[in-house]
């Protein structure tokens, strides 16, 4: 007679792949929820100055953390029982576990920080721990999902699942860049605001790089499936538009301006579907890098305002100051952002090779 334990073990072994994949999707989805909550939290702080830790955006963020924690657990159980590719998936599970360790540790750390020093700014030790944990979980989830799709030769419409694997990496990476470049980190106790020239350099290099790397990676991992730039980029615009622009009454009109960003995405898809030569890809890399100031509307303005105008910008004046400096920012950043956009293309190839173990 087969014991119950053996049956359980058998069930786990048969379904380990499904568990591993499901867990990894939950990790990516959880981080997506955390990043959406995080972006909403920044807007909430600007508009309503919440005075308590227990705010709706924080609720959404920690719901995401719970989903991620559950996902990592399922993923780890699945990985432990895998029959094939166990070694190949080890990196992804290792990154996920490291990430969730930081993420779950950041919760109580944040609460203690709030209790002792009041509300913290965007960059603080607990927030940096949280964002780093988010980024690592997202990267771990992306590696797991992308390798799974590759090892199982999934190249049909399911390869659009790469979008769900990459969007949390893009959003959490953007969170990291924002925390190191936006002047939102001065409180009564600490001034963690980045030095204005340092912030300028960080924003000008890393925003275009992350846009370009993520979009090219999605396209390459899916073997240039049509529309990847538009789907992934459109999702980014939708999330950013609904959490950073729509909640601010004074910015609602500018959603038309923001939606124009679909054009370079569609154009990139058209170019890649027409011609995948090196020249075309370099052109697309430069194009995508050059539009970062429009993609990161409205908050990116705060970084450039610090160095160009130094104005005090209250939330209803964000669009006004943003448009006041747009030409100056474009002139100053167009060349570096194009170069970095092209570098993102090269970086995406390196990451693709790493994911595909080539």
């Amino acid at each position: 007679m087969v014991s119950e334990t053996k049956l359980d073990t058998g069930f786990m072994k048969v379904n380990s792949k499904k568990f591993f994949l499901l867990g990894s999707f939950m990790v990516s989805f959880g981080i997506l929820i955390v990043t959406v909550g995080g972006s909403w939290d920044i807007t909430n702080h600007l508009l309503s100055k919440p005075e308590t830790f227990f705010s709706p955006p924080h609720g959404l963020m920690y719901t995401g953390v719970a989903i991620t924690l559950f996902g990592v657990s399922i993923s780890a159980i699945g990985w432990k029982n895998l029959q094939n590719f166990k070694r190949e998936y080890f990196t992804s599970i290792k990154i996920q576990i490291l990430g969730i360790g930081l993420l779950t540790g950041a919760g109580p750390f944040d609460f203690i920080w709030h209790s002792n020093f009041g509300l913290d700014g965007l960059l603080s030790p607990p927030h940096l721990t949280l964002i780093t944990g988010m980024f690592l979980c997202a990267v771990g989830g992306m590696f797991a999902i992308s390798r799974f799709l590759k090892f199982n030769n999934i190249s049909n419409s399911l390869s659009y699942l790469h979008v769900l694997a990459i969007i949390p990496v893009w959003l959490s990476g953007s969170g990291l860049i924002s925390s190191l470049s936006l002047p939102f980190s001065k409180t009564d106790y600490f001034d963690f605001n980045p030095e204005i020239r340092f912030a300028f350099i960080i924003a000008t290099i890393f925003y275009p790089m992350i846009i370009s790397t993520c979009l090219f990676l999605s396209s390459k991992l899916s073997n240039f499936k049509p529309g990847m730039f538009t789907i992934l980029g459109g999702l980014f615009l939708l999330i950013y538009g609904s959490t950073a622009i729509a909640p601010n009454f004074a910015l609602v009109d500018s959603l038309i301006f923001y939606s124009l960003n679909l054009i370079p995405l569609v154009v990139s898809d058209l170019i890649i579907s027409f011609d995948k030569s090196k020249k075309s890809l370099i052109f697309v890399g430069g194009l995508i890098g050059s539009v970062f100031y429009m993609f990161y509307y409205p908050y990116v303005m705060y970084t450039y305002n610090e160095i160009l105008l130094g104005k005090l910008v209250s939330p209803s004046l964000i669009d006004y100051v943003y448009f006041e400096i747009i030409s100056q920012v474009i002139v100053l950043t167009i060349i570096p952002s194009i170069i970095v956009g092209i570098f993102g293309l090269l970086l995406s190839e390196k990451i693709r090779k790493k994911i595909h173990l080539q």
Binding site: L47, F249, L260, S314, S316, I326
Partner: protein
């Protein structure tokens, strides 16, 4: 798609994008009239003449009677005292953020500059605040005042909305000025022995 059609289509789309994003729409947004929020308040003392040891209450009702704004502030200041301890007590309060007690000697914003120009407070004050400032939503605050000396006890009341755009962004617009070089409405309590 034929090359002859493809390149003009791509070029046209990119020209439309950059011209609209960098030149046309920014110009339109900069020409757009800015929203101007306008604070207003009514304040009254329950008794303007009291005996030493007695209390009187100051009730303030305020709102934004203009357009959407970011912050609605009501400030009460007390030029005849050095601290508010056991003299001023907030009895009721329904503004969205907690009141801020500003002590004598604290750094304060002046000239309606929203923090760009600063000075040092000469006397204590209390700031009530609601963020954001939605039009026509009323707020109120009641303070219980127990002067500790005979004579005249003065209270300065003012309201400011941020962004401060022009003179309708503050109330009152004329009269006495306080240590922030901003207009105030003056209330007096006569304290008898």
């Amino acid at each position: 798609m034929k090359k002859i059609l493809f390149f003009p289509v791509i070029a046209s789309l990119l020209v439309i994008y950059f011209v609209m994003s960098v030149f046309v729409l920014p110009e339109q947004f900069l020409e757009k009239e800015q929203l101007i929020s306008q604070p207003y308040f009514e304040a009254k003392l329950s008794k303007s003449e009291i005996s030493l040891g007695e209390s009187t209450s100051l009730e303030i009702k305020s709102k934004n009677i203009g357009e959407y704004g970011d912050i609605h502030i009501v400030s009460t200041a007390f030029p005849d005292i050095d601290n508010t301890d056991s003299i001023i007590k907030i009895v009721s309060y329904d503004y969205l953020q907690s009141p801020i007690f500003i002590q004598k000697g604290d750094e304060i914003s002046i000239n309606y500059s929203s923090g760009l120009e600063k000075s040092v407070s000469k006397y204590p004050s209390i700031e009530a605040m609601s963020r954001p400032s939605i039009p026509n939503v009323p707020f109120s605050m009641t303070q219980l005042i127990t002067p500790q000396k005979t004579g005249v006890f003065q209270i300065y009341v003012k309201s400011i909305n941020i962004p401060h755009v022009n003179e309708s962004s503050h109330f009152p617009n004329s009269g006495n000025m306080d240590h922030q070089n901003e207009f105030v409405e003056k209330f007096e309590i006569f304290v008898n022995p």
